[in-house]
């Protein structure tokens, strides 16, 4: 049996990227080999380093090359506010859009028994340790408004209640610039239930 050529191996390897099929993988491989060897080399080095050295922050489980991520290590952040998110990408979004000055905790998903994701897979034991340390004034749940997200919120809220920590959830409702008639019934019901005085 003939050994697979290096080119084929490269095309195959590129297909692990999200949204990249055989066609795109081939295009990327040819582009790097024909036009951008320097970029390709840099990618190879950085990718190799990143895969070896980036791990999870011991406190908040976000991706970090240090044992403690930059946010957790920052003394100017308020350690009594803890915002729970599903993925590291959401930290970036919240940091850019809001003036939140507290810390984060990354679940890496949501409780979904049918996918085999239970409390242990979401690092809720790490969160439990965080509760025991004390010093938390408010826990902010910023998880998806899906059934699994609500289950996750319920579970964590119960956990927090045992430690006497106040729990809040970010609001669900009509998007800014959105027109009511195009908002689905469920969202509208939430928006109505969560109305407040102006």
């Amino acid at each position: 049996m003939a050994e697979r050529s290096l080119l084929n191996q490269l095309i195959d390897a590129l297909r692990c990227l999200p949204g990249v099929g055989p066609k795109s993988a081939q295009r990327i491989a040819f582009h790097l080999l024909d036009h951008d060897r320097e970029g390709g080399r840099r990618l190879a080095v950085v990718l190799g380093d990143a895969m070896e050295r980036i791990n999870r922050c011991a406190r908040c489980r976000t991706l970090s090359e240090q044992a403690l991520c930059a946010l957790c290590a920052n003394p100017n952040r308020d350690p009594s506010l803890l915002c729970i998110v599903e993925n590291p990408a959401e930290i970036v979004a919240i940091e850019q859009a809001t003036g939140f000055r507290g810390l984060y905790f990354v679940l890496g998903g949501r409780l979904s028994p049918l996918d085999g994701l239970g409390p242990a897979q979401l690092g809720l034991d790490v969160l439990e340790a965080r509760f025991r340390e004390g010093g938390l004034a408010e826990l902010i749940l910023a998880v998806s408004a899906t059934v699994e997200g609500i289950a996750t919120s319920n579970y964590i809220a119960e956990q927090a209640a045992r430690h006497g920590v106040r729990v809040t959830r970010i609001a669900h409702g009509v998007p800014l610039g959105g027109e009511l008639e195009h908002v689905d019934g469920g969202t509208l019901a939430h928006a109505f239930a969560g109305r407040h005085a102006i």
């Binding site: 028994p113 049918l114 996918d115 994701l117 059934v147 289950a151 119960e158 195009h182 689905d184 469920g186």
Partner: protein
């Protein structure tokens, strides 16, 4: 054959992302049973269908295709989503996990579908979680061909009486407990109450829980049910967890 224009009553049991904008959903429909379907572009647009395609939302769905995986054509809400409060939501996941494990694909189960809808409606009330779960477990065994007779001894055919103790034998049924039987015995009164769908509390509720766990075990396969974990770990000393404790 199913027409893509005909809307059928259905629930989504489970969903997962499929490419950037689509979903792969597991449908439980009244007329066609459980089957997977692709909801193309469900997460796209101004009013994405992904909002609707969630567990515990009564739906009208239509689909096309003949293969194992169907293609979703339309989805409309059939009334509002059933809001399962707190632990009732974990119970809902448990029902879905049971259906995924015990129900074969493309096996029509109209009665079970109605029973599932009713069980969710009762769970949504949030006051009694044990009752709907036990009744659903019994019904699921019955409708999948593994009925458990609670009112008759399997070996002698004698009727179960309230004053005696009974032992469950896997894949057979109940028999009268003898002096040497240790471990799990169930009071006849509990069996009769369970069969009649009466509310159970305290010891009776615990017995019924253990019994149904043992009765389901042979059909669930070796992997433990993940939704049970949610109860084992979420403490709550105030009320007994409605699912089974420990392994």
């Amino acid at each position: 054959m199913h027409s893509r224009d005909r809307l059928e009553q259905a629930f989504v049991l489970h969903r997962r992302d499929y490419s950037n904008t689509s979903l792969l959903i597991e449908v439980f429909s009244a007329t066609q049973g459980r089957f997977p379907a692709i909801a193309k572009g469900a997460k796209r647009g101004r009013a994405p269908t992904a909002v609707l395609l969630q567990p515990f939302t009564p739906l009208w769905l239509s689909w096309s295709g003949r293969g194992e995986v169907r293609t979703l054509a339309r989805a409309e809400a059939a009334g509002g989503a059933l809001t399962l409060p707190g632990k009732a939501l974990f119970c809902g996941f448990y029902l879905n996990e049971l259906l995924m494990r015990l129900l074969g694909r493309h096996d029509p189960q109209e009665d079970l579908f109605a029973f599932y809808h009713a069980a969710l409606t009762r769970l949504a009330l949030g006051d009694d979680l044990d009752g709907p779960l036990r009744q659903f477990e019994l019904r699921l065994l019955q409708d999948t061909g593994y009925a458990l007779d609670l009112e008759q001894e399997w070996d002698t055919g004698e009727p179960v009486v309230a004053g005696r103790s009974y032992v469950h034998e896997p894949e057979r049924g109940m028999r009268a407990a003898s002096g040497v039987d240790e471990g799990l015995t169930v009071a006849g009164a509990t069996l009769l109450a369970l069969a009649a769908g009466e509310p159970l509390a305290g010891t009776a509720a615990r017995e019924a829980r253990g019994l149904m766990r043992a009765a389901l075990a042979p059909y669930l396969g070796p992997r433990p049910l993940k939704s049970r974990e949610l109860f084992q770990q979420s403490g709550g000393a105030s009320t007994a967890p409605p699912l089974h404790e420990g392994d």
